[in-house]
């Protein structure tokens, strides 16, 4: 069962590829193999009338590969995955699927990946419960929400 997930806020992913290289260094991956890769959509013009600000689409989205093990060795030591630790835009987050899903609901332009199963129990992981029908029937512990990102100006 997947238990943990990577949440990526691609409004801010700059394509710096720190996640890519951090992952390769951590796992000693040779040339031609990756644990995560940045998919690149753009730039292309959304509105032919104007080419000033916000008229081009360009999103970069890191996608974990089948070699991603969610940094199992680091998790076992209680450390964050190395991609999340080093992300220059602080646009990657890691946690239980429930915790990350709650953050996903907070703003647009995010994507959630649950690349693999993981049987490591991390402290605090059980604070978050997926609200299944069964859980919803009875009283359930109130999730501790992560602090909201500062409000964006209109």
């Amino acid at each position: 069962m997947p238990k943990y997930a990577l949440l990526i806020d691609y409004e801010y992913c700059t394509g710096c590829e720190s996640c890519v290289v951090a992952c390769k260094m951590e796992h000693d991956m040779p040339i031609g193999k990756w644990g995560i890769r940045v998919h690149d959509d753009g730039p292309w013009q959304m509105n032919e009338e104007h080419e000033g600000g916000k008229s081009f689409n360009w999103n970069k989205i890191p996608v974990p590969t089948d070699m991603c093990d969610l940094c199992a060795d680091r998790l076992a030591e209680g450390k964050k995955p190395t991609c999340v630790h080093h992300c220059l835009a602080f646009c990657m987050d890691f946690g239980t699927i429930a915790e990350m899903a709650a953050k996903l609901a907070e703003k647009p332009k995010q994507v959630l990946f649950a690349p693999c199963d993981c049987d490591i129990d991390l402290p605090g992981a059980d604070d978050f419960v997926i609200p299944t029908a069964k859980a919803a029937a009875g009283p359930r512990p109130r999730p501790k929400m992560a602090p909201k990102p500062p409000a964006l100006r209109a």
Binding site: T14, C16, M25, H50, G52, H85, L88, G124, P150, R153
Partner: protein
Amino acid sequence: MEFKNDLGKPWKFEEGDFTVVRSAMWSPPGCHPVGCGVKIYVDKDGVIDHVEGDENNPITKGRLCVRCLALKDYVYNPSRVIYPMKRDPKDRGKHDKWERITWDEAYALIKEKRDYFRDTYGPECMAVFSGTGRSGGILVADMAQAVLGTPNACYTQSGYACYQPRSMSCSHVLGAYYPELDYAGGLQNTYDNPTYRVPDVIVCWGKMPLASNGDGLFGHAVIDLMKRGSKLIMVDPRVNWLCTRADVHVRLRPGTDTAMAMAWLSVIINEDLYDHQFVEYWCYGFNEFVARINDPEMGMTPEKAAEICEVPVEDIYAAARLYASGVSSIAWGLAFDQNQNGNQAAHCVLALMAICGNVDVPGGQIIAEIDAAPGFEEGKKMEVNLDKADAGADGNAAEDAARPQRRIGWDAMDPELRAKTIGYAEYPLYVDNIRNAQADMMWDAVVSGKPYQIRMGWIQSTNLLAPSCCAQPQGWYEGLKNLEWCMATDCFITPTIEAFGDLILPLASCAEKDDVVMTHYAGSPVTLAACNKAVDVGEVKSDITILIELGEYLGSDALKNENGERMFKDEDDFLTQRRAKPTGMPFEDLRDIVVFQRGVNYRKYETGLLRPDRVPGFLTPTGRVELWSTAYAQYGEDPLPYYREPAFSPHTNPALAEKYPYIFTTGARNYASFHSEHRQIAVLRELHPDPIIEIHPDDAARENIANGQWVEVSNDYGRAKFKAVVSVIVKPGTVQMDHGWWFPERQADDDSRDEIIPIGEIATFNDEVLDIAMNGAEIRAAHVHSDHADEPGLYGVWISNVNDMVPNHYNSHLGYGGPYKCNCCAIKPLKESYDTDMSLVAEKFDI
């Protein structure tokens, strides 16, 4: 969920089998002095196991870019040079002729050569050449003037087209060192510090800070600020990624920045959007400045600028009004330097910052406090030398006060010898300001032997052929072959060192030495951070150690104190005396805390902290921001800004545009390398394996070029091959090319040279007079072609050498800037592919 972290750990701690050293980085390898925090994990054998970002660093908070993440692969790269080596000058270019020697032998050899050249031809026949951004690079003047005793230090980039043109304009127009985007880096708790305010608007002008991190701005701070509400204005011909997140993006034609900035000023002045109080109290020459902006001939309107810059006029109004709508901050970049008209563009942008009241306010432009004059006592009036004409003799107060780590040897030098600095007569402000020979005049000297021949060289942390930093590298190649003897300091045998090096001293990387990373070379109130030695590798030494030891070996008086003893005991003592100075603590204490945040006093022009005499105001002769520049006037330049069309403009030169229909720009950075550094780091090379050219789909269709196809680009000066990225990232008619390429997986005697070199003459000076220097000398263009097609290909350095298409001598009247970002070319598709074989790179450089 909570995760383990290392917050609060000391500079060195044990974790499992590792000793972890907390440190801050500065090239080699990496980048400019931004000083991201790293944790270097060293195993029991004293070998780096891996590197992680240090979450204790108040700015980077654990983040790292790919270059520091791959640090280990640089440090232990199989091609790294870790022992001193020499080679007979007749074997230049031959990789198998290097022979290991000891440091003592190396120093003795240098002394023998130095003494011979000094005594036979005079000390000025020696020159030290340096590159960009590195920790040792800023020692170039000391290496030349204090260690060897020659005035000729030289950053070889035509027109010093990197940073210095901006910083010169700041010293003279603003009377303070580089005004940087205020990203709260010097404040405790950074963005949350109560004295700080998030800028309402950030302008990235000719700068892509995310990848470049120049020269003390942690680029991704812009992302932090966007998340906190800053709006973005981008002024850039390309749609770089940030432009897609910007409120306004002004896609100006390359090289027209001055027209654009004058148009913003026109809107802001004529719509009365400026800060009257700041103008009245702190600006000099506002009325004359307004008259110039509104002058029908020399001035600028948004409508006129829209035509020149080829943008919709609404974008100009929108940008100017948004800029003037709140506290705004401009991050300005290399485009100001790589432009013949850049001094004027800088003048205008400084004027924008000033008249809108954004200088030295929270969230605006931060500038550094400077030391009080020696012996200064509160209340006592001091005379401060602000006469720029005397700058050479007595020091330029603004420059020295802001950058105390400069000039050990210059002052001690005999004025007669100083006067022999190449280019001093033609470009005195340039030479005084940076104590370097003027680059284009040095190019003439090495190529033509005039006014005198340079016979001994020192390639000090530069790979100028690659070229990270020169124009017409083939000309430099031909010229530098005339060096009778040449030494080098670097971590690798670069094409430049393979070509000319007769001795290489192995340089320590930032993992193998102590250093202090000074944001903006100490000219900005952000941080001073300790680069802490983590490991030993071979027999490498740092630039600072070489300066101290070689200085002593050569008996340099400039490096002795009053008692005749050596001025700096060792590396750490040098750091304490020179680089850690603004922290008020010795290096050993800085090492313990790793990062020192300098704190920011805002509005220092009200308190006198911008001047050594502690008089309120700015460090200019008038004490104000000089919108009418007394310094420019004094050096023969127009004291007010004016627009000058790029030399290779299709607007003014239609015949040229017919032959070379594309405008080209170069110099953009990417994450995987620091200029020509990192090409042999396989994991980084994999991210960006080939030199690329960006070309618009319409142009690609016209020229029959497919995405991914290789093309040849050429103009009157040279040609080069690139792999096409067909993309609307560039405007139709404009292309953008990578710089700094060589192919370390190829061989020194590679045969790539014959296919790229046009057969031509060596050093033909045109009849065309480009400029009249201040002493009346005529500055001419020159073409240099080599007909030596059979010479070694030097790791393919000529294959994709965009700088070969950039000529020397297209500078501003003050000797600054060059047409790197506003030049012209023709493009044709190639049948062959030159794609990098990554398996070859992996095989040669895997560790």
